[in-house]
Each structure stands twice: as structure tokens, then as C-alpha cells.
């Protein structure tokens, strides 16, 4: 099986050559984009009487999207090949007056007039909806998709009437476990085949297929081969209805109760852009967020599960020994412990590569005040990798911590045995062992999750997870990315790493103002030449490549995956008035 991300041997779809050979369309694009990128030519078309400059590779849907005219579709996806399954996108064009043509399959050409408002188009939209709903079960109340379901959206927009068809609904399998992450409900499926095409073309592990015929058709896995691809979760995202569901999120929350906020996945050093969805102090799921130069609109299954560390086994209360004494007293006691040894040498600061740049900066500021003699870079152990989105380094910010350390002029060491170290202050404890800290007389941890190190700590201060605070991370090729505060309710005593450092520094009598992430970032930007003059608020949504950190293999600044490797050019912005839940916004659904 070929690695995901590499060009397929042949176009996986069997569509007519007339579409594919024109270049730039999905399917065709994969074979051609790398070698002979089609020269984009701008053509003028009229969408409902409004003139628009469209790319000659655009289909009618994308051309209309440029002026904010929404042509509805289920099966079309800007990054997948064209199937023409759903018949929802039929519109009229000047090429075929009086007839309806599929907006996904037909490409624009100079002077083409597209009309989406004629009675024939409207009738077709209503008719299509009616047919799609014939066998659809009355499931909204128990369906995880409801609230973000295309059937619901389009029904209200294009149909909003009772059905004229009265018949028995077909019964099909309701709960097929496709694999570790995906469960399938055949009754809800509208046979758009997006999932099949995704597995073929993007994940490049063809694990799904359509079986049976007509209204009895279903999506199925092959015998003995579950849907166990590392990218299987994406099929759930792109499923326009509630047929494929994420087993991790299933029945956990209704989607309209969660708050969606942009963040960065902390699963590995790829730094996939995500939306984190939360309610109260709980995270519920991560969804990929569009970033052409990092993850396009996809993410891996492992990354989807990283939010669990935010919900489970947290250090909740500021502790002194085993007593939850509250932040103020914990800080007082930590200062009592540190004051005698401050500046005496024998202090080690351990920084995890899971820390944001701001946390690392705060740790280094604290270390500078205490005149720490040793700095340790800890982190999660390396794991598997592939050519697409999964990196071996399972820490999101190794580069950032290294950059911060270099900016402060300190050397980071491996977490090995400590010699002559009296006190250890650990910012996040990932990868630290009890053995590592056993010689330390004073152990202060600022930790997110309970482990053997936090159990031994004299003082344990609960730190916010990356999803709960604002911060920046630098991915494996030097992309500085911003993550926002996604979880709105505060969990117990948790505070950001820089807040703890600020309080400790204040207690030690040399206060540094670190009241928000921006101030911590400024402290770093003052010292790091790579970031000089940069403000936290100035970092764009999709990040910023720090040229000096680019590895040699990225000589030509080729992001990974390469932009357009799997995709045609999706629209870059959402025109005003369009629904944000669309592919155009960056979410993959």
C-alpha cells in the first residue's frame, strides 16, 4: 500500500476523461499538479447576473461561491474527485438552456451564464431533498450529527414543506462498527460516497466500498479488514449526514452546546490546526481546521484523542504535600522552600516540550532569577510517523522550547540522572521519571496530569492545558502558530504557566509582569532574534514560518503536505453571507 500523501499510481476514479483531462480537477490534479501545474487562467462568468472572475479550473459551485451564491451539494468535496451522486447541485447554464447540469461536474468557461434561481432549479432542489429523505429515519433526536447536518440545513433552506411521498422506510443496519474510531448507520446514509473517495484518494488505504444496489446500497468495509487507517476520523468529518459517527464523541454532547474555538493539536510536532470544542471545563472533541501549509483540512485519529489529557487525571488543586492548600499558600510555601537555595546553584529547571513558548519563557525567567545551574528538556517519547501528517516527535513545541532556551542563552540537557542538584522545578512533567527526581531535596512541579513525579512533589501547582490558555507553538519545520483559549470555564485552581511563574517571582521579590500571554511572548520576543519585533496579536491565524528555523530539507520552503498535493484550489475566504459550517470556512465538513 502506498503511503498516504504520495501521488497515487493512477487516477482512482473512473470518471469521463472529458472532465479529468482538463486539468486541475480532483483526481486529475493528483497526477498532474506536481509535475505540470496547470496555468490558472481567469475567465469571466455570470452567476445569477453577477459577473465574476473565476479560475478556469473552477467548477460551477466554486465559481458561484466566489460571489457568495450557494449551490447546495452533498457529495461534492473540493478535495475529492467528483462523483455526481447527489443531484443536489443541478443548475442551468447558457450552454444547455432549459436543461439542468450538475454544478460539481461542469467547469466554467469564458462568458458562461449560470442561473441558480429558475423554477426548474428550485423544483429540482426540492425534489432531490424529498428523495433523499424517503428512507431517512426520524433520528434527529438521537443523532450526533443533528445541528451540523447538511440534510437539516438544506431541508430548511430548499424544501421546508411536508413530504408528498408516503411509504414505508427501508430498514438497514443501524450500528456497524467500521473500526476503532468509526461507527456506521446505514439508514442515515445518503450514498454520497465521500468516505469511500477519501479513503481511496487522501488516506490511500481503500478500506471502504459501496455494496448492494439501488436503495439497498450501503457503505461497507471488506471482510477481515476493519477501517483502521490512521486517518479514519476524517470520514466522519466529511460525512454530510449522521451515517458515520465518531465513537469517541458519540452521545457525548449535542453539537450546539459546545463552543468552538481555534487551537493547535498537541499530539505531535506537525502542529495541525484544529478547532477545540468545549463546554464548561470539559473538552469534547477536536476537529481539523483548514491550513493549506500544515494539514489542509485533515487530521489523524491519534491527534483527535489528545484532548483527553485535558479532561482526565488532572492535577486540580494547588497542593503542598498531599494537602490542597490553595494557590496563595502553595506559592508562599514554594517561596519558603526556594528562598534559601536561590542563587546558591544546584537548581534544575525542567521544561517539557509540551509547554507553549510562553510557558517556556516563564520557566526560563524563573530559572534566571534562581540562577539555575541546569536546564532539562523533557517530553513524550517518540512514536510512529508517516509522510502525511504524523511526525515521530510527539511533542508540539520542541522547536519552541529550544528557541526560547537559546534566546536565554542556556543549554538544554536530556533528562538523565541529576548530580549535585538540590532543587528541581518542573514545568510540565511529561517524560520525567521518579528516578530522575529522587535525588532532589526540593521538588516543585507545575503540572497538568497526575503521574509519579507529581506524587512526589512537595509543591504541585496545576497548570492549564494548551487548549485552556492562549499561547504559541512552533512546529517541526519552524511554523509559529497561535492557539487560543478554547475552554472557557476554569478548572479548579489551574492557572497558566506564566501566571505561576509570575506569582513565584513576585514571592521571590523580583516581580515580572506576566499577566497575559502577550506579555510572556514579549519577554521572549525581546530576547529571541527570530521573533524580534513580533507581537502575539500580530501572528496570523494560519501561523508564520520562521525562516531561520526551516530545516535544510525545506530549502525551497515547501510546506508539508504540499499545498494542492491532494486538492484543487479551494476558495481561500468565505464570502460574506455564506454559512461558516461549509468547506469554504476551513472545517472539512
Amino acid at each position: 500500500m502506498s503511503q498516504p500523501g504520495s501521488p497515487p499510481a493512477a487516477s482512482p476514479t473512473g470518471h469521463s476523461g472529458a472532465v479529468n483531462t482538463a486539468g486541475g480537477q480532483p483526481g486529475a490534479a493528483q497526477g498532474q499538479a506536481h509535475n505540470t501545474p496547470a496555468v490558472p487562467k481567469m475567465v469571466k462568468v455570470l452567476v445569477d447576473g453577477v459577473e465574476v472572475e473565476a479560475d478556469s479550473r473552477d467548477n460551477l459551485i466554486e465559481a458561484a461561491r466566489r460571489v457568495g451564491v450557494a449551490i447546495p451539494y452533498f457529495c461534492y468535496h473540493p478535495r475529492l474527485s467528483i462523483a455526481g451522486q447527489c443531484r443536489m447541485c443541478l443548475v442551468e447554464t447558457s450552454d444547455a438552456p432549459g436543461r439542468l447540469v450538475p454544478g460539481c461536474q461542469v467547469r466554467v468557461k469564458e462568458g458562461l451564464k449560470i442561473v441558480t434561481t429558475t423554477p426548474a432549479v428550485k423544483d429540482n432542489q426540492r425534489g432531490s431533498m424529498e428523495f433523499h429523505l424517503i428512507n431517512h429515519p426520524v433520528d434527529c433526536a438521537i443523532c450526533d450529527q443533528s445541528g451540523e447536518c447538511k440534510l437539516q440545513d438544506y431541508y430548511m433552506e430548499y424544501d421546508h414543506q411536508p413530504s408528498r411521498i408516503r411509504t414505508y422506510k427501508l430498514n438497514k443496519p443501524k450500528r456497524e462498527e467500521f473500526g476503532p474510531m468509526v461507527v456506521y448507520d446505514a439508514e442515515r446514509c445518503i450514498m454520497c460516497t465521500r468516505c469511500v473517495r477519501f479513503m481511496d484518494e487522501i488516506a490511500q488505504e481503500p478500506q471502504l466500498a459501496v455494496v448492494q444496489r439501488g436503495s439497498h446500497s450501503l457503505i461497507s468495509t471488506f471482510p477481515g479488514q476493519p477501517l483502521d487507517s490512521a486517518y479514519s476520523g476524517n470520514t466522519v468529518d466529511i460525512c454530510p449526514v449522521g451515517a458515520l459517527l465518531n465513537r469517541d464523541f458519540r452521545f457525548q454532547s449535542r453539537v450546539w452546546f459546545v463552543n468552538k474555538s481555534p487551537a493547535i493539536c498537541t499530539g505531535c510536532s506537525n502542529g495541525c490546526n484544529v478547532y477545540a470544542e468545549s463546554r464548561g471545563d470539559q473538552l469534547y472533541r477536536l476537529l481539523p481546521r483548514r491550513n493549506e501549509e500544515v494539514n489542509q483540512v485533515w487530521m489523524c485519529d491519534e491527534g483527535r484523542l489528545t484532548y483527553h489529557a485535558t479532561n482526565e487525571k488532572r492535577v486540580e488543586w494547588a497542593r503542598s504535600g498531599e494537602d490542597a492548600v490553595g494557590p496563595r499558600i502553595a506559592i508562599e510555601r514554594a517561596v519558603e522552600l526556594l528562598k534559601p537555595v536561590a542563587g546558591q546553584g544546584g537548581i534544575a529547571i525542567s521544561i517539557s516540550a509540551q509547554c507553549t513558548n510562553e510557558e517556556a519563557t516563564a520557566a526560563l525567567l524563573l530559572g534566571a532569577r534562581l540562577k539555575a545551574s541546569k536546564y532539562v528538556l523533557s517530553g513524550k517519547p517518540a512514536g510512529g510517523s508517516d509522510e502525511f501528517l504524523i511526525r515521530a516527535d510527539k511533542n508540539p513545541n520542541t522547536n519552541g522550547v529550544k528557541l526560547a532556551a537559546a534566546a536565554f542563552g542556556v543549554k538544554l540537557e536530556e533528562p538523565s540522572a541529576l548530580q549535585g542538584v538540590k532543587a528541581v522545578i518542573a514545568f510540565r512533567t511529561d517524560g520525567l521519571t521518579a528516578q530522575f527526581v529522587q535525588t532532589a531535596e526540593i521538588l516543585i512541579v507545575i503540572a497538568q496530569n497526575e503521574d509519579e513525579v507529581t506524587a512526589r512533589a512537595q509543591i504541585a501547582l496545576p497548570i492549564k492545558s494548551v487548549y485552556e490558555q492562549e499561547g504559541t507553538l512552533i512546529n517541526y519545520y519552524g511554523r509559529l502558530q497561535r492557539s487560543w483559549e478554547s475552554v472557557q470555564a476554569q478548572r479548579a485552581d489551574t492557572a497558566a504557566g506564566w501566571t505561576w511563574a509570575e506569582r513565584l517571582l513576585t514571592g521571590l521579590g523580583s516581580p515580572v509582569s506576566l499577566s497575559h500571554a502577550g506579555e510572556a511572548f514579549d519577554q521572549l520576543a525581546q530576547r529571541a532574534p527570530e521573533l524580534s519585533g513580533l507581537k502575539l496579536a500580530e501572528i496570523p491565524d494560519d501561523g508564520l514560518v520562521l525562516e531561520s528555523l526551516l530545516p535544510a530539507s525545506f530549502a525551497a520552503r515547501a510546506p508539508h503536505p504540499q499545498a494542492g498535493a491532494h486538492s484543487i484550489r479551494g476558495p481561500q475566504t468565505t464570502p460574506p453571507g455564506m454559512k461558516v459550517s461549509d468547506e469554504a470556512s476551513g472545517a472539512s465538513r
Binding site: 468552538k260 478554547s486 472557557q488
Partner: protein, 219 residues
């Protein structure tokens, strides 16, 4: 009917009228802040005879364009940190609208003044309409808009110690307010002395259970 009023205003104050619009039969005229009092005085005292000030309204346009809909609409009670930090402030962010009506002539007109978030000042019209007194206090309370020349610009519905302006779109709907320090006055019944309610010891300081709690977390 009201269109005639708009035309009259345009003719009378060509440099004050910025734009006019009509939506579902409501005529709106946007005027400059400098000419506001003059325009309204004309509308009230002269031929238009708009003697009744129905109300004064303010709207914060911060999330007008960016507010989420769809599945997130119910949950997005809070404007996320991302939206506020990132999507920027539309300027002018606020507008104040005056709904005027004429009982004799049965026509109405809305006067609208745009306000930038950096310069939240607007002349008061308390000299023209007595009823504008409370409406202006209300808007000062809810939006923090300063009505210059108002005789008594204090909060109306909220208490004086209230922090923030609740109807601004970046005021979270579930935001909690800091505890108000109890005013220190002698207990008339028990006389001065220690203990809750006694002179010199505010109640909030005598509550034992709150001592270990970080005051920063109570906002």
C-alpha cells in the same frame, strides 16, 4: 409621509445628513454627531413637530457580522477569546438611535448617530426632551456611552460599583461581578464593637470560609 421628512432634513441640513434608509416602513436618517442637537431641535420645534421622544437606543455592532449561527449558535453565548482578539472591532462600533414621533402629524423618524469605540461621546438632548434624561442614563449604564451635558449621568439600573457595561457585546452573559465591599457604618442597634455587622469590620472580612480563596478567581 416620513419620506417627506427625510427630504426636508436633507434640504435643511445638507452637511449634517450622512445617509438615509428605509426598512419595513421605518425611515432612518444618519446625522453627524456635531449637528445632532441642532437637527433634533429642528425636528421637535419646527414644522416636523416630532414632540414625542419614544426612546433612545444604542446598538453595539461588535459581532454583527461574525456572530456564529448553526450548531454553535446556542452555545456561543460567550463571545470567544478568539473572536474578540482576532476578528477586530468594526468601526464605528456603536450607534445611538432616537425614535421620534409626532402625535399631531402621526409620522415618525429615527435619527441615528454612529460612534467610534475610541470616542464614545455624544451630546445630550436633555435640554430638548425631558424624557431623554433616563434614556441617556440607561445607555450610559448599559453601553458606557457618555452623553455630554447631561445633568446627572449616573448608572440607572445597575449599582454604582458595577464593573463594565452589560449590553456591550464583549461583556460575557455569564460574567460574575466582584463582591461589593460593604459600606462601613456603625450598627445602630448593637453599637460599635467587633463582630459581623459591628462598626469597623465589614461583613466581607469576617467571613472565615473565604480566606484561602484567591481574589483573582472571583470575577
Amino acid at each position: 409621509m416620513s419620506q417627506a421628512l427625510v427630504d426636508l432634513l436633507r434640504e435643511k441640513f445638507p452637511d449634517a445628513v450622512l445617509s438615509s434608509a428605509s426598512h419595513r416602513g421605518d425611515e432612518v436618517v444618519a446625522v453627524t454627531r456635531e449637528k445632532l442637537v441642532e437637527v433634533i431641535a429642528f425636528l421637535r420645534n419646527d414644522k416636523p413637530d416630532l414632540k414625542l421622544l419614544r426612546d433612545i437606543v444604542a446598538v453595539d455592532m461588535l459581532t454583527y457580522k461574525t456572530e456564529m449561527t448553526g450548531g454553535g449558535s446556542i452555545s456561543s453565548n460567550e463571545v470567544s477569546a478568539y473572536s474578540i482578539a482576532h476578528k477586530g472591532t468594526p468601526e464605528p462600533r456603536y450607534y445611538v438611535a432616537y425614535n421620534l414621533y409626532s402625535i399631531n402629524k402621526k409620522h415618525s423618524l429615527r435619527i441615528r448617530v454612529d460612534l467610534k469605540s475610541t470616542d464614545l461621546k455624544i451630546p445630550s438632548i436633555t435640554s430638548l426632551y425631558k424624557t431623554s434624561d433616563w434614556w441617556e442614563r440607561y445607555l450610559f449604564d448599559m453601553f458606557g456611552i457618555v452623553f455630554e451635558g447631561h445633568p446627572n449621568l449616573q448608572r440607572l439600573l445597575m449599582y454604582p460599583e458595577f464593573v463594565g457595561h452589560p449590553l456591550r457585546k464583549d461583556y460575557p452573559v455569564r460574567k460574575r461581578q466582584p463582591l461589593v465591599q460593604e459600606q462601613d457604618f456603625p450598627d445602630l442597634v448593637r453599637g460599635p464593637g467587633p463582630g459581623p455587622g459591628g462598626a469597623g469590620v465589614p461583613m466581607s472580612q469576617t467571613h472565615v470560609g473565604r480566606q484561602n480563596v484567591d481574589p483573582n478567581t472571583y470575577d
